[in-house]
């Protein structure tokens, strides 16, 4: 579904040359929920913006359904970390969700249907007439998610969407995303710096190295499909996985892959080849 091949992004400007992403190659299958974790400042946002067609990579390419991404593709929706800035304060919730649909040349009745359905999915039917700034942070991010859902994307890119909400809201939103993923079969690429979140949400976790960034490791999360905050997070396997990811990230910060005896069995998960 989503192929990233040899992606490299170098920022040049004011006499400084920053290689944000060196060489990234990975694949996300249709209907998969993949989490990307990496040390802070490792170019996660750069990667996501290249994938979303918001930035042009220096070299390499991103393919969506086999077609190269050169601008924001119609089958892709983006959820930003800064929900407060991503939602338009001059529009009511309903209009915020509907705006992208107007670009899709859908009939007004179909648009209303999609908006109502998306708001219901995130539990915000009652807030349709409110302005985003009248809602709490968690509700605002739900609106942003509803806007993405109404757009009916094949792929949903989420850039640290819950980094700015409190812990309890965050847990609710994580369950919301997993629930929506299961119901709707959307392909989701979820970027986070939170290791627990990555392991809890993902079917697969991609661990990135420090900048200049390469894929440090791909890890399959073999937790049951039905997950809940209470039990999954205390499961021994969850602890093992998160420890492993943590070690890999620490190793990434030191600049090499972790070579630890107790995680050998996990490294057997070869990255899928497509």
């Amino acid at each position: 579904m989503l192929d990233v091949r040899g992606l490299k992004k170098v920022y040049e400007g004011s006499g400084r040359r920053v290689e944000a992403v060196r060489d990234l190659t990975f694949t996300v299958d249709a209907g998969e929920l993949v989490c990307l974790v990496g040390p802070s400042g490792c170019g996660k946002t750069t990667l996501l913006k290249c994938m979303g067609g918001l930035l042009t990579p220096t070299s390499g390419e991103v393919l969506l359904g086999g077609r190269p991404v050169s601008g924001p593709p119609p089958g892709m929706a983006f959820v930003f970390q800064e929900y407060g800035r991503s939602l338009f304060p001059w529009m009511r919730v309903r209009d915020n969700v509907e705006l992208p649909l107007k670009q899709k040349k859908l009939s007004p009745s179909r648009r209303r249907e999609l908006v109502a359905d998306a708001l219901e999915s995130v539990g915000l039917t009652d807030a349709a007439g409110a302005y985003p700034w009248q809602l709490s942070g968690g509700m605002q991010q739900r609106v942003a998610i509803a806007r993405a859902l109404a757009y009916e994307p094949d792929v949903l890119l989420m850039d640290e969407p819950f980094a700015a909400v409190d812990a309890q809201t965050r847990a609710d939103l994580e369950d919301l995303v997993r629930g929506l993923w299961q119901q709707r079969g959307i392909t989701i690429l979820f970027v986070t710096h939170d290791i627990d979140e990555a392991v809890y949400l993902g079917e697969r976790v991609l661990i990135l190295s420090t900048s200049p960034t390469v894929v440090q490791e791909q890890l399959k999360v073999d937790l049951p499909a039905e997950r809940d905050q209470l039990h999954t997070r205390v499961a021994p396997r969850f602890a093992e996985l998160r420890t492993h990811v943590y070690e890999q990230i620490q190793a990434a910060k030191r600049g090499k892959a972790a070579d630890l005896e107790d995680v050998k069995d996990m490294k057997a998960d070869a990255p899928p080849t497509h």
Binding site: P72, A77, F78, S86, Q103, W133, R147
Partner: protein, 257 residues
Amino acid sequence: MKAETALLGTAGFAGFLVLCEAVPRTGILSEDYFPPVTRIADALVTELGDQAFWTALGDTLTGWALGLAIAVTAGILAGVLIAVTPYLREATASTIEFLRPIPSVALIPLAVLLYGTELQSVLLLVVYASFWQVLIQTLYGVQDVDPVADETARSYGLGTWARVRHVLWPTALPYIMTGVRLAAAVALILAVTAELVIGAPGLGRRIAVAQSSQAVPDMYALVVVTGVLGLLINVGARTVERRALAWHQSVRGEVAV
């Protein structure tokens, strides 16, 4: 608290009127040049009954409204164009900074040369003065577009025109509204100035005529009318601003979440 403010305001104004009545009557100021309020009020009533007064008022308002409309349209179009075109902002900044401080009244001789005492003279001065207010505010407003909001719009496939309409315009609107409000006040000042100095038809010329014919209370009555006009324009502009920007931080106040 609000009632108290209103009460104090009314009382203060009433005191001011009493003072303006009393001071000339006690002879501290010459009644010839500072007629008491009641005589100004009498003159005002007479003015209101005069058809020529209403024509003059109409002329002033025409010059004001037309000039403002031209300045606002041109200011917004130029501002958006300059702000969104790469390098144009840098290239025009020095010229704008040079032209902007030129007092509009310094162009009076030019206006007379070009258009004599016609409406165009008034328009030239009004447009020159108010154009910069709108242009500068538009430039600031467009610059304030949030990169996240713009990226959101781009990621959802909004084209250039849709982004101008749904992101750039609402972002710049609070700034533009401020510019228009300032421009509306400046436009009235310049309209009256042009009529007064050049002699274009309107309240300004009527003030000049009243002065030269020693009709001092009439002169004051007309000055009062221009003051009321300014007040109404400001109140009107603020009302429009509040309606249009109900969503904006400056209007909505703090919201309990």
